[in-house]
């Protein structure tokens, strides 16, 4: 028994020492993000604890969506349903913005599309089911504690930070903006290279505080972070990287820094040649034209950009 304990402790000690060896530490503690893999999952792969945290935060993410619909589970239309032209009723107007895609239906089927008869009736009566006409959403604010919990459990889960901040910022008062920026500041401390978090901070400074200068600083940081990790950005981060160019160009335009704006547009279009907003900003209508002429000119340019 003692021998077994000794061997176990020796192996554990060896593992601890080995863990710290430069070659091993580099592999297990590598924070860079391989291309095509989600940064979040990559982080989780380094340890079992990370995996548990990731699973928990992902589970909470799904739960937050479920609570938003008051327990009514939704699903997107299948390809077959789309081909057959299945119609989706719009949800009831509950004063909130359209939250989910129009092509979503409830997982528990409506009576008219359910072959189960009596069983179907019982299913609708016992499960959290509402037909789409009576489908409303809870105030997203109610899900906020879940976002705090998921980011506390897994600080590298950037969608938790950005979506949580969006929910806090639904309160358009100064206090709401302040709280949202504080929340994002915590997110930035945990994810200093996150393009998404940086863009979200810049966006709030621009749209809520009207501080173009500070906003531009954050968009610049986002641009820098995007360039630094351009090969390893996931889809969401890449999208935020593209947005950083758009917002930066707009900020420089409004700050009368036209040279900087042109530089950003050229760089942005080189990275995202199909971006219609950047293309549109690059070819702003000449001021010599009348308002009507400017609109026609912009329309032509938009069509051109769309063609490309």
């Amino acid at each position: 028994m003692k021998a077994k304990l000794g061997v176990s402790l020796s192996l554990l000690a060896l593992l601890c020492v080995g863990w710290q060896m430069p070659g091993v530490a580099k592999q297990i503690g590598d924070t860079s993000k391989p291309a095509g893999l989600d940064a979040h999952e990559t982080h989780a792969s380094v340890s079992l604890l990370g995996q548990v945290r990731t699973n928990l935060s992902s589970w909470l993410w799904l739960k937050s969506d479920l609570y938003l619909h008051n327990g009514v589970e939704m699903r997107p239309l299948t390809e077959d349903e789309k081909k057959r032209g299945v119609q989706v009723q719009a949800p009831a107007d509950d004063g909130h913005e359209q939250i989910h895609a129009e092509s979503e239906v409830t997982i528990v089927p409506a009576k008219e599309s359910d072959f189960r008869g009596w069983f179907g009736d019982l299913d609708r009566a016992t499960n959290a089911y509402k037909d789409m006409q009576h489908h409303t959403h809870n105030d997203p604010m109610a899900a906020l504690p879940l976002f705090r919990l998921m980011t506390w459990l897994d600080p590298q889960f950037t969608p938790g930070w950005t979506t949580g901040a969006t929910i806090i910022a639904r309160d358009t008062s100064k206090r709401g903006t302040y709280d949202a920026l504080n929340f994002l500041a915590d997110g930035l401390r945990a994810n200093p290279d996150s393009v998404e978090v940086l863009v979200e901070i810049g966006y709030l400074h621009l749209t809520r505080r009207g501080d173009k200068q500070v906003a531009a600083e954050y968009f610049e940081k986002a641009r820098g972070a995007g360039q630094m990790n351009v090969k390893t950005l996931d889809e969401d981060e890449r999208d935020a990287f593209e947005q950083s160019y758009r917002w930066l160009a707009l900020c420089y335009r409004d700050l009368d820094q036209h040279e900087a704006m042109r530089g950003i547009l050229a760089e942005g279009l080189a990275a995202f040649p199909d971006d219609p907003v950047l293309a549109h900003l690059e070819s702003a209508a000449p001021l010599i034209l009348t308002e009507k002429g400017q609109r026609a000119w912009l329309e032509r340019e938009r069509k051109k950009a769309a063609k490309h």
Partner: protein, 258 residues
């Protein structure tokens, strides 16, 4: 007269459950729930009521399902394996009586475990100031019906399969039947008439455990209590399905060479 036989047999199952310390496991799990809830409480419960209730019903559903299946799947095979069935059958007890008595014992043990876990989770929820609604009482009632069906189905499987296989199949149905039914509903659209009839048959045959779980309504806010006709229908369905499962079990048990 029969009632006394059933009572004695059920009591035996219950004592065996206590002897095997299954109920101790439940009590420890309950304690762990309280500890975990305490951890969540430290974080602050404001706004997390739905989450806490959701967690509570998920834990209740998961643990009681495991207990019901594990308990029911080994009842008769162990009696046969350990040859303790002979002294039982030497008494004026028919195999049918034995089956019913064992089934009632399994249901009783499962319900007691469910009650222990329910009380623990309810205490945890009360501590955090979660409001109770009428639908929660309905949830407990429906869940008990569902557990009774689960015990009958598992007991039936255990007479045709090994205890491990019976437990596995029961778990697949307990956790997957809702998913299978949702898949049938999706696949039914655009299916040929023959396939549609096949789907109807599978839907009628498969145990509909999802109907007994009001967890989705309990966890969220403002859901009205389930109408009485629904509760009545569930009682009828549970009685019919359990009776059918026990009948299938009896056919297997009657032919079983012991």
């Amino acid at each position: 007269m029969k009632f006394r036989i059933y009572k004695a047999l059920a009591r035996g199952v219950l004592l065996e459950t206590i002897r095997r310390k299954d109920l101790w496991v439940v009590a420890i799990l309950g304690f762990l729930i309280m500890v975990a809830a305490g951890g969540l409480g430290l974080y602050g419960m404001q706004g997390l009521e739905s989450f806490a209730k959701d967690l509570a019903v998920s834990v209740l559903g998961l643990f009681t399902t495991i207990l019901a299946v594990m308990n029911s799947s080994r009842l008769l095979p162990e009696e046969i394996k350990q040859r303790t069935l002979y002294p039982l059958l030497a008494r004026p007890i028919s195999r049918m009586d034995l089956l019913i008595g064992k089934y009632l014992g399994a249901v009783l043990a499962t319900w007691i475990a469910f009650a222990i876990l329910s009380i623990t989770t309810a205490l945890a929820l009360v501590i955090f100031g979660v409001h109770f609604e009428l639908i929660m009482v309905q949830y407990l009632f429906a869940k008990m019906l569902g557990l009774a069906v689960l015990c009958a189905v598992t007991l039936s499987f255990s007479l045709y399969l090994t205890p491990a296989a019976a437990a596995t199949l029961s778990f697949i149905l307990a956790f997957g039947s809702t998913m299978i039914i949702r898949a049938l509903v999706l696949a039914n659209d655009g299916a040929s008439p023959a396939t549609a009839w096949l789907f109807k048959g599978i839907n009628a045959f498969i145990p509909q455990y999802g109907l007994f779980d009001f967890g989705g309504r309990v966890a969220n806010i403002g859901w009205a209590p389930v109408p009485l006709w629904v509760l009545g229908s569930l009682v009828v369905y549970a009685a019919v399905y359990s009776a059918a499962s026990l009948a299938v079990a009896w056919v297997g048990f009657r032919k079983k060479a012991i």
